[in-house]
């Protein structure tokens, strides 16, 4: 079997151009779908019979929480690829993922807190999902801190890749231990995302938002990846030619 197509993804010039070409194909659908989902969620969907208008927070909260985990997995996957095949572009992608993931996690925490106020009557509840999100946020901060503390790019790449892989092994353990811890101290919370019992008119904006945020993540990743490649290859001759053209 011919694997040369795969090697092209390891080439910074190829990825730089590919990222440039692909960005609008993700950015535009992401923006349009976000608008459609917001309209569906904030205007078309009826108020919830128990939670009233407050439930609409879920259209931002649930997708950001979902993305925070997905970005971490993507980051760890890219880091592992970089570690195993010594692929520079994969390390650059992992580096590009971290701030996006941290932002999604932060957004999930803020919206979760805003959501908690009308639902539980407090801004913060030691709910297992919120607690896991908070820990995930610290994992992102640690990853970025480690990367920032090492000056040599290659060493920073490989060291933080080990951390990302260790983290991805730990995330499920942390999640289940936090759930276990929480189940000892209080009854399971009211909202269960596991089984969507939402009516169709409430459900489709949520799924649309999920898709929109995934597209947004890809678009942001492509932009950040280009910035990473620019910074790393600033002395390469292909980049000089590329910029001169």
């Amino acid at each position: 079997m011919n694997w040369t197509w795969l090697h092209r993804f390891g080439s910074p010039p190829h990825m730089y151009r590919l990222a440039q070409r692909l960005t609008p194909w993700f950015a535009w659908p992401a923006s349009l779908l976000t608008l459609a989902a917001l309209y569906g969620g904030l205007v078309l969907a009826p108020p919830d019979y128990q939670q009233g208008e407050g439930f609409r927070m879920i259209y931002v909260h649930a997708p950001t929480a979902w993305m925070s985990l997905m970005v971490y997995t993507t980051m760890a996957f890219a880091a592992a690829v970089g570690l195993i095949w010594r692929m520079k572009v994969a390390h650059a992608a992992a580096a590009a993922c971290a701030p996006i993931g941290a932002s999604f996690t932060f957004a999930a925490l803020v919206t979760g807190s805003l959501y908690g106020e009308p639902m539980w009557g407090t801004w913060w509840e030691w709910d297992p999902r919120l607690t896991s999100e908070l820990i995930l946020f610290f994992l992102y901060l640690g990853y970025m801190g480690l990367r920032g503390a090492i000056e040599d790019t290659q060493r920073a790449d490989r060291t933080s890749a080990v951390l990302a892989v260790v983290g991805v092994v730990n995330v499920p353990i942390i999640h289940y231990s936090v759930t276990w811890w929480n189940s000892l101290h209080q009854a399971p919370s009211v909202m269960q995302l596991g089984k969507p019992k939402l009516a169709g008119s409430m459900l489709w904006p949520l799924l649309a938002m999920l898709l929109a945020f995934t597209l947004l993540f890809v678009a942001l990743l492509l932009v950040r990846l280009r910035a990473e490649i620019l910074a790393r290859e600033r002395n390469a001759s292909w980049l000089q030619e590329e910029l001169a053209a």
């Binding site: 901060l141 480690l146 090492i150 080990v162 260790v166 942390i174 000892l184």
Partner: protein, 249 residues
């Protein structure tokens, strides 16, 4: 001060070389035993450093009666949490000694070049670290527990949970310590990396201690702690060996 590590450094590679001359491929267990003995010898020659994490643990435990209340009834309620948070912080503090000197004087580089699997040597170093900090912490914890109003009947349970839990803490910490090798003023970063990964140990450990204080069976959380320790024994030396190799590149 400067002379001590060198003399011990000379001792350990001499041991490794003796093994090498006996035949290619010294058994990894022999090499690991030499590393373990070397670390223990070095540590006992500077026993002042060994006492520091223990003193830190005692001070942190003492902060709570001063900050919350001297009533033993109230302290008993939070004792499990206090003991575990103090143990977690003390073991974090002790992590700095794990690789720092060896990275500084080139011993780690010699280990990496010795032809022995670095994973085995990392395991030996972590085991030595646990014997020097984790185990003593677990052994003095009963005193701290009694001072917090914990009934004496709960002591065996607390001791068991700390003995098993500190194994997991040392192993998780060894990853963080290896990742931050070569970074200046890595203290806060080390905490930021290690604490989130240690939370499961804290949760199960504090739960086991709490059940022990209430006089209930601690088997379930103790088994989970044991599972974490076994998982750490299996995977953590791999990760720290990878991190050490990267730091030497």
């Amino acid at each position: 001060m400067a002379e001590l590590p060198q003399s011990a450094l000379a001792a350990a590679p001499a041991g490794l070389e003796a093994g090498d001359s006996a035949g290619e491929g010294t058994p990894v267990l022999t090499a690991a035993r030499l590393v373990l003995l070397r670390d223990l010898t070095l540590a006992f020659r500077r026993s002042g450093q060994l006492v520091q994490p223990l003193a830190f643990f005692a001070i942190v435990t003492m902060l709570f009666p001063l900050a919350i209340s001297p009533e033993l009834a109230r302290l008993r309620e939070v004792a499990a949490g206090v003991l575990w948070v103090a143990a977690l912080l003390a073991s974090l503090l002790a992590l700095e000694f794990l690789f720092r000197d060896d990275a500084y004087d080139g011993t780690l580089e010699q280990y990496a070049l010795s032809g022995q699997p670095l994973t085995g040597l990392m395991f030996a170093k972590t085991a030595a670290h646990w014997l020097l900090t984790g185990l003593p912490l677990a052994l003095i914890a009963p005193l701290a527990a009694l001072s917090l109003g914990v009934p004496p009947a709960a002591i065996p349970g607390i001791l068991a949970s700390l003995v098993v839990g500190t194994v997991a803490l040392s192993l998780i910490g060894s990853i963080g310590a290896a990742l931050t090798l070569g970074i200046r003023r890595s203290g806060v970063l080390l905490a930021l990396l290690t604490l989130p990964l240690s939370l499961p140990v804290l949760i199960f450990g504090a739960r086991a201690s709490e059940l022990a204080i209430r006089g209930e069976s601690i088997v379930a959380p103790l088994e989970l702690l044991g599972a974490l320790a076994v998982l750490g024994i299996t995977l953590a030396p791999l990760a720290s060996a990878a991190a050490v190799r990267i730091s030497l590149e």
